[in-house]
Subunit: 338 residues, 2 copies
């Protein structure tokens, strides 16, 4: 399958096709130039990859963990970092802000407002529940939280609200209607909160969410089979490279060394082009050719597509960046853990 | 829920209850003393944890990756290390053997036999397919592979065959019948192969597999909700500690900071005692009290039970070892990656 890649990377390991990655970034940037894209770092957890996004003109980023914020700032990517998540101990964030990085944190309760102030974080966005049962205050509480934040000396930059219950809907019409309803809640909150930012959106609603002033997308850069179901112009740039270590000709299946330890499995099994994936074990994937295809031989390389990019990336130490069958770079996945 | 643990560990992080761990090890050791237990390192990936197992009288270990073998040998735990997996480049294993550790590797094909010989690994077990569609040769090929190995100068120590299709069956009677059928295949191969070792078994068949000379169990030490379904005497010693970061009283749910990045999800959602888990996102679990229970408050700690221990552990850097509400040790998870 990929004999030419043989010497490029050990198995299992992550491959990023750089030309596809750049294609995805160009498509997104054409609709959301500059700061209209606030790229979500959680999808790739790599300052080297973030630097390539920043070099393309998008210097603002979203993070999901404190360590992501710390690592981005330390790598000189602290132009405008939003921790789009709630924290009850913000002291590490305050320490990052003290180094000169611009740090903003999401708040959805009195406790998180107070934690931001106590921790020395200078600015907040009020996180609003727009329908996803996760973090975010009720829209009717947003103004009160903004008042509390301002009273504590915090800059209130605006609102955020992630329509995560909408981004994966198969039908584009349903996504359009869903985003409209979600953003109605967010704009109602924004009217009470003020500030210049309305931060929302994801890869699945990237061109639908026209209410937000900035889009918090990340998966579009690498893509996965779950997002590939949708009518999106982004292409798969990420593969897990594996090697066939065992073949059973009698039963017609092969086994490669890509398993649960190198994949995120919450969105289901991975895929291998031209094959049916039977199941994964800790260090194995068992698969069989479809439609009378050829059973691979022991030692052959296979490219495995993951069902969910974010938790897959977080299992690896490095991206092997390739162009065709040539390895052109290696990007550490340096923003893992907490 | 766990207010006293507040200062013990950041969230999310792994807790190991040391008394429960020791209980599980004692139960297993009473049936499988000494070298009858070949503990599977893949379930916990920590040389510190392995050292506690060795100190209890079980010096032999199974590994699933080359890095696990390297790390165990470097930590002085190289008394008898079996890589229970197929490799096509065994040079790193040969280098470990050259340091004086005893290294054995599984083989199920001419290619893997030749790789072992070329890589400088001194000994092999012939890996036999006993019904799980994964690695392992047909029993009728085992003798031929053993001959090839001996002709290449390798010591053939015996056979292995993992009844992974049986270990998770709910019904004990089905497990008993399934193991008997699987071991019939393995013993047929052993008759052709020779050697003193018949290596098989797992946590779900630990007391059922009386044919094997050694049991390759690992999950019994920490346990997970998948194995807890079965009629086993082992108790849950592993929890992911999380903190409630957001509460929605109107809808009656809470959100804690334990998500897809800190869990293995292939066996399904995690569990929280007394609560229903709705879903997990990258860094969140949304859950609600059952049976009119109390909604936890922002800032409270929660203990999350994982559905599958092995891929959960591999997402973390360290075990926080606790006795009651006291932290007694910290064990690095130092055998991750490949």
């Amino acid at each position: 399958m990929d004999a030419e890649l043989d010497a490029l990377a050990p198995t299992p390991s992550l491959l990023v096709e750089i030309d596809t990655f750049d294609h995805n970034l160009r498509i997104m940037g054409a609709t959301h130039p500059g700061r209209r894209l606030r790229t979500h770092v959680k999808a790739f957890k790599s300052t080297a990859m973030a630097a390539r996004v920043a070099a393309a003109g998008h210097p603002t980023f979203c993070c999901a963990t404190i360590r992501e914020v710390e690592g981005m700032a330390a790598a000189g990517l602290g132009d405008d970092l939003l921790l789009a998540n709630e924290v009850l101990d913000a002291r590490r964030l305050g320490a990052v802000a003290a180094t000169g990085a611009r740090v903003t944190v999401a708040v959805d309760s009195a406790e998180t407002v107070d934690a931001a102030a106590a921790g020395g974080v200078p600015a907040v966005l009020v996180d609003v529940n727009v329908g996803l049962p996760r973090c975010g205050c009720d829209p009717s509480d947003a103004g009160r939280l903004a008042d509390r934040a301002r009273a504590a000396g915090l800059e209130v930059r605006g609102v955020m609200g992630y329509e995560g219950h909408i981004v994966g809907l198969d039908d584009r019409g349903e996504r359009i209607a869903g985003v409209a309803a979600a953003m109605e809640r967010l704009l109602a909150a924004h009217a009470d909160v003020g500030g210049g930012i309305v931060s929302a959106g994801g890869t699945g609603t990237w061109d639908i969410n026209t209410w937000a002033t900035e889009i918090q997308a990340g998966s579009f850069l690498l893509m996965d089979t779950d997002y590939a179901r949708l009518d999106l112009p982004f292409r798969t740039a990420l593969f897990v490279l594996g090697r066939v270590i065992s073949v059973n000709p009698a039963q017609g299946y092969a086994v490669a060394d890509v398993g649960l330890k190198s994949l995120g499995m919450d969105h289901g099994k991975p895929s291998i082009d031209g094959h049916s994936v039977w199941f994964c074990s800790d260090e194995h994937v068992t698969f069989a050719p479809r439609d009378g295809g050829r059973l691979p031989a022991i030692g052959e390389l296979v490219r495995v597509r993951t069902a969910h990019v974010d938790p897959t990336v977080a299992r690896h130490e490095v991206f092997h960046v390739v162009r065709g069958h040539e390895k052109v770079d290696e990007w550490p996945i340096d923003l893992r853990h907490w």
